[in-house]
């Protein structure tokens, strides 16, 4: 809880500073914009957090967004599939990718880094090939306006991606923090061998974490595709996996596995989006965008580490 608290305080402090400098930060339009992005980035970050808790990693998420986005566009605009079918196929494909990653990691004992790095290259290449290097769009969404509204709309002023994130978080919170499966997940991440000797089916636990990430990636892919309303296969989603990994780690997940929480991941994902939002709202030159992000995150983790060292010393 300590780790989340530090990130949470940083988030609150940032929001307070930005509000003081530009009160428009709290305007409904800005809150909606930011909540929408937090939703889109938060959903797959939850899954990535889960995989990180098992001691794994997934670098292929951004490329998967491009591939799934291209396929979604083709299914809806060229094949004219009914949209619920297309959505199910996208989510199933996400789950399938996750299952393949999980099986390669557990059955063949391959390193998650290399498996998903190959995924990063493979999916990007497939996306570009399938799209013949052309941008795939959704046009005016004739025939699937309902899906477009669902992915980009708002309910009572709250953007649907944010609602989806809240629902996904609630489910994942129960799964991770209130179920036996969640216990197994933490146990596996902390010490795989011990978990195996305790009778936990470690392979299944790890594979299922990748499948859950795959499902959430599919969901995010649909939201991102409709957010931009077109998918350019060579650049769509590039580096987005890093936002997910950063959100999870900022939120207290350890890259060594066995540590992390849903609330923490949510705070981490929010922090990353607020950081980008403040660069624009405060009129900081775009060129400093990444520098601001890197700087603030570094301050956050340094502060967190110092607090922990102090409390550890106090405990001794």
């Amino acid at each position: 809880m300590k780790k989340e608290l530090a990130t949470f305080l940083l988030l609150v402090a940032l929001c307070a500073v930005v509000t003081a400098l530009n009160p428009r930060f709290l305007s409904p339009a800005n809150l909606q914009n930011t909540a929408r992005l937090i939703g889109a980035f938060g959903i797959f970050s939850l899954g990535l957090g889960l995989v990180i808790i098992t001691g794994g990693i997934d670098l292929s998420v951004g490329s998967a967004f491009a591939l799934l986005g291209v396929l979604l566009s083709i299914m809806l605009t060229a094949w004219r599939l009914p949209w619920p079918v297309a959505v199910l196929i996208i989510i199933a494909l996400g789950a399938l990718m996750g299952a393949v990653h999980g099986l390669l990691v557990t059955r063949l004992q391959l390193q998650p880094f290399i498996v998903t790095l190959c995924g990063l290259l493979l999916y990007r290449g497939l996306a570009r090939f399938i799209a013949a290097d052309e941008t795939k769009g959704f046009g005016d969404a004739s025939g699937f306006q309902a899906l477009q509204r669902l992915a980009t709309g708002s309910v009572a002023g709250v953007p649907t991606p944010f609602i989806a994130l809240v629902v996904a978080s609630a489910v994942m919170w129960v799964v991770l923090h209130r179920s036996v499966y969640g216990r197994y997940l933490f146990a596996t991440g902390r010490n795989e061998v011990a978990a195996r000797y305790s009778g936990i089916r470690v392979n299944r636990v790890i594979t299922s974490a990748y499948v859950i990430l795959g499902v959430l990636t599919g969901l995010s892919a649909i939201i991102f595709a409709f957010y931009t309303n077109s998918v350019s296969p060579s650049s769509h989603g590039t580096f987005f996996e890093l936002y997910g990994i950063a959100a999870a780690v900022l939120g207290g997940c350890s890259l060594r596995g066995g540590e992390g929480s849903i609330v923490g991941i949510l705070i981490g994902a929010s922090l990353l989006q607020v950081l980008q939002n403040l660069v624009n709202l405060l009129g900081i030159p775009s060129s400093l965008n990444f520098a601001v992000m890197g700087g603030v995150i570094l301050i956050g983790v340094v502060g967190d580490q110092m607090l922990q060292n102090r409390s550890r010393r106090a405990a001794v």
């Binding site: 914009n33 052309e134 046009g139 931009t228 309303n229 624009n280 775009s286």
Partner: protein, 316 residues
């Protein structure tokens, strides 16, 4: 001993093979090399194919780059090894590829297209005059905002040469008017960020009267963000290039106009002229060593005609 035999046999067969291929292609070879893979190049490819059909006595090859100088170097080395007579390249990083271009120019005729490397020993540049294109966009801005007003510009990377030149052209055109550039936001070709930048600009500067997208995907990003904010028609939009959504926006009147290049002509003219030079006719190269293909302004009045033409070129 057996190893040596194997090596000898391999060498012999390779020699035989290369001998065969050389005998088969006594025609001069030329090539068209892109900087990356994008819709733009699909159209250029049609021009290259037309040139190939029109000049059957020359072999013409079309190669896609991947956005890196390293890949272009690999492609060029490949082509030189095959005995290429000339090439037209869109250098990714002109300033730092001068040495490579100069090396190539000793063994083959080098044209630059799309993006120029004026400091190199290239024979000729064929492409857009981006300053002039910027001026055309500037005229559109002045026309849309006769009373003046604040405008914001959006682009992927501001350090790219075409971004700088387009910006320069816009500045020249609006000099002395009441149009004022409020800010220029960059997105590093991340389309999600591109749209978020616009949304956040509309929040932080509600008084903004015009939005200008300098790169092709900035058009749809602006269009969608303005639509989401419910400000269609209130904020004037001026864009570059011919993304499908941009053209739909022009058609619907949501975009004042878009300045388009003619990549088909890049492909056709560079290849037909290069073919002549390779065969010894240097008269096609002007004294300025630059051939500008004019950009065109597409508005609601001529968008249908342009779309029809584009459809034919793209073959879909």
């Amino acid at each position: 001993m057996s190893h040596k035999t194997a090596v000898l046999l391999t060498c012999a067969s390779l020699l035989a093979l290369s001998g065969c291929s050389r005998a088969g292609t006594s025609k001069p070879q030329i090539a068209f090399i892109t900087n990356n893979a994008a819709d733009f190049w699909t159209i250029a490819r049609k021009g290259v194919e037309k040139a190939a059909a029109d000049t059957p006595d020359v072999t013409i090859e079309f190669r896609l780059g991947d956005g890196t100088a390293a890949e272009q170097k690999r492609i060029v080395d490949d082509l030189l090894a095959k005995g290429i007579g000339g090439l037209a390249i869109s250098p990714v990083d002109p300033a730092n590829q001068v040495t490579m271009l100069n090396d190539v120019s000793q063994r083959a005729v080098v044209f630059t297209q799309d993006s120029d490397a004026p400091d190199s020993k290239r024979e000729c540049y064929i492409g857009t005059d981006n300053v002039a294109a910027g001026r055309q966009a500037g005229e559109l801005i002045k026309e849309a905002l006769p009373q003046g007003g604040k405008i914001a510009l959006f682009v992927g990377k501001l350090d790219a040469r075409n971004a700088q030149e387009r910006l320069q052209g816009i500045k020249e055109a609006i000099a002395g008017t009441k149009v004022e550039i409020l800010d220029i936001r960059t997105d590093d070709t991340d389309q999600v960020r591109a749209k978020a930048n616009v949304s956040e600009m509309l929040v932080s500067h509600p008084e903004v009267a015009g939005l200008v997208g300098l790169w092709s995907y900035n058009g749809p990003a602006i269009l969608n963000a303005v639509k989401d904010a419910g400000k269609t028609g209130q904020v004037k939009i001026i864009t570059f290039d011919e993304d499908d959504e941009t053209l739909s926006g022009v058609k619907a009147g949501a975009i004042v106009g878009t300045v388009v290049q003619q990549p088909y002509e890049f492909g056709y003219q560079s290849m037909t002229k290069l073919a002549k030079v390779v065969k010894g006719d240097r008269s096609v190269i002007p004294a300025s060593h630059q051939i500008f293909i004019p950009t065109m302004v597409i508005r609601q009045s001529n968008v249908d005609e342009f779309r029809t033409k584009l459809k034919q070129l793209r073959g879909r």
